[in-house]
């Protein structure tokens, strides 16, 4: 066994270079890039294409519009996929690029930021702030190459429950199409989310 390994590792440098060996021994360390820690299973689920892949979506929803819209969608018994873990924020303008990136880092397959229409903002400037912040994070996500479709910004007022349900349908379908995030399972702490809505409440 050790012989085989030696042959493989020694392929580029021939045996007749004893002088260069001690230095090379050290630098070979960085050629062994560690494997991502977990998450391969989820990717396999998606590859099978039998509906085994359920995207995990983090949705930041504004307290004054989109969160009540989600509530109203529930009360009106509108059906929408339960893949989103909704995080209520007082204003979508508070959703800093860091929040979205952190969710992606922890393995979210998609992140939705949903706030008020510009003219409806409870804090007057917050909705515009949300759009500005989202523009930044969308550009970062595009550059990172993890798929610009994974982040989405919507304006859903408290009266637009059907729109909320529709956005959820569309977003989940889109994420199912592009598959699990390449980051799923690579981060230190996997995103800990309940498997079904309502299973775990804080």
């Amino acid at each position: 066994m050790p012989n085989k390994d030696e042959k493989k590792a020694g392929a580029p440098s021939k045996e007749d270079q004893p002088a260069a060996k001690p230095r090379k021994k050290k630098s070979v360390l960085w050629r062994e890039i560690p494997e991502p820690r977990a998450g391969a299973a989820r990717r396999e689920d998606a590859d099978r294409g039998d509906g085994g892949f359920e995207p995990r979506i983090v949705a930041f929803a504004c307290n004054w519009c989109s969160y009540p819209a989600a509530d109203a969608a529930g009360i009106s018994k509108l059906q929408y996929p339960p893949n989103a873990r909704i995080i209520r924020v007082m204003c979508a303008g508070r959703v800093h690029p860091g929040f979205v990136l952190r969710a992606l880092e922890l393995g979210a397959d998609g992140v939705l930021v949903s706030g008020c229409h510009f003219e409806d903002c409870h804090y007057l400037f917050g909705a515009r702030r949300a759009a500005e912040q989202f523009e930044k994070v969308a550009e970062i996500v595009r550059m990172l190459g993890i798929g610009p479709e994974r982040v989405r910004y919507e304006q859903i007022s408290a009266a637009e429950a059907p729109k909320f349900a529709r956005v959820m349908h569309e977003f989940v379908e889109e994420i199912k199409k592009i598959g699990p995030s390449p980051l799923a399972g690579t981060a230190e702490g996997e995103l800990e989310v309940p498997d079904a809505v309502g299973e775990e409440r804080t």
């Binding site: 050290k26 890039i33 991502p36 990136l101 990172l144 190459g145 690579t186």
Partner: protein, 391 residues
């Protein structure tokens, strides 16, 4: 897997670092705290207290202490310490230990930069980060020289509000290289150098980033890597070999390369009126790497530009106020305001810096209207300034 997770006792490493950094020789003269730019404003912070607690093994107080993360790692204390203690090494090791034990600092910018760099540890990433490279920049596919862009494309987006245009800096750097007859390669999938993670004690993720960068550089066949960012330079030149041994390529800072070309007469600039400027020594370039003259040689080569150094310059230069995107507080703002006032007191109308972070932080401080109106000073990046004067 990574060494930080298995088999490595961080407490033992800390003990080792205490020896190596000569911390055990501290005789508590307090010069470090006296000279520290943070301690000048923040009474609760003191490098000496940090050192003493680390030596005594008061782990609990270290883990809970937010001040572990307040140090700018600017190494100003190093220059004054009569016992020649390496505070940089000490802080790095204390942070690695504290992070392992669950302590955490306060990430600025919502943790965006740290999340971004940790995302980059993923092997499967295929970035699209070179959209800014236009036809005016000459890039080659194969060659001996590689230009390590660093985080400029991302900083340009994240910190757009400060008015810092870090991409202008990267473009300027390539223009200057082109003018010096170098057509560098770029890595399309370059990762963060890992500087911020390393200095915040996240050694494991730093190593993952470094490994990928090293693998890509090896694949490119570059014999020389030119870095314009002082942090990237210090990390590649010092920390990569520390962790991975011989790299097989040379790491050069752009200031060194350009200063050499200017001396040989290969690079010429044209005048654009008279300006007086002063120079902010980035801590990574200056105290960490000992490069003081090369950036000054570049500024002096610009016709019509007069350089007046601040009272506290070179090895006495003051940091821009935040290190490693950690613990940006009101004290940071005070450091920045003091530094900007000092710059203005030279009579300069432009403060030139060679580090994207200095640029971001000082421009951010100037967003305060009172300060802006009072000082009327402009902050400019060295590469952007020099490239705008290319003949």
């Amino acid at each position: 897997m990574a060494a930080a997770e298995e088999g490595v006792d961080l407490r033992k490493e800390l003990a080792e670092a205490l020896k190596k950094s000569r911390a055990l020789l501290c005789y508590e003269c307090g010069k470090c705290s006296g000279v520290c730019p943070v301690a000048r404003f923040d009474r609760s912070f003191s490098p000496r207290s940090l050192l003493v607690r680390a030596v005594r093994g008061e782990d609990a107080t270290l883990i809970e202490d937010v001040n572990v993360w307040s140090c700018l790692t600017c190494k100003l204390c190093d220059t004054r310490c009569p016992a020649a203690i390496d505070y940089g090494l000490l802080t790095k090791s204390v942070r690695a230990f504290v992070r392992h034990e669950g302590g955490e600092g306060m990430c600025t910018h919502g943790g965006a930069v740290h999340a971004l760099t940790r995302i980059m540890t993923s092997k499967e990433l295929e970035q699209d980060r070179l959209g800014w490279v236009d036809d005016s920049l000459k890039i080659s596919k194969k060659g001996d020289t590689l230009f390590f862009v660093g985080c400029a494309p991302y900083f340009d987006v994240v910190f757009s509000e400060t008015g810092a245009k870090t991409l202008d800096s990267a473009k300027g750097a390539i223009r200057l290289l082109n003018a010096a007859g170098v057509e560098p390669m770029l890595l399309p999938n370059e990762r963060c150098c890992g500087h911020d993670l390393l200095w915040n004690g996240d050694v494991e993720n730093f190593r993952m980033l470094a490994q990928q960068n090293l693998a890509m550089i090896e694949e490119s066949g570059a014999k020389r890597v030119v870095v314009s960012c002082p942090e990237g330079y210090a990390t590649m030149k010092v920390d990569y070999p520390n962790h991975f041994g011989d790299l097989g390529f040379e790491v050069v800072h752009l200031t060194e390369l350009l200063a050499g070309e200017i001396e040989e007469g290969n690079l010429e600039f044209e005048g654009d009126g008279e300006t007086t400027v002063t120079f902010q020594d980035p801590c990574r370039l200056g105290r960490h790497m000992g490069i003081y003259d090369a950036p000054r040689a570049i500024i002096s080569a610009l016709p019509g530009v007069e350089l007046i150094d601040m009272q506290r310059s070179r090895e006495r230069g003051i940091c821009c106020g935040v290190g490693g995107w950690m613990n940006c507080t009101s004290f940071s703002k005070m450091i920045q305001a003091t530094r900007l006032r000092e710059a203005k007191s030279t009579g300069a109308s432009v403060l030139v810096t060679a580090c994207p972070k200095c640029e971001i932080h000082l421009k951010c401080a100037l967003k305060e209207q009172m300060l802006r109106d009072e000082l009327q000073i402009e902050v400019r990046d060295l590469w952007e300034l020099a490239a705008s004067r290319l003949a």
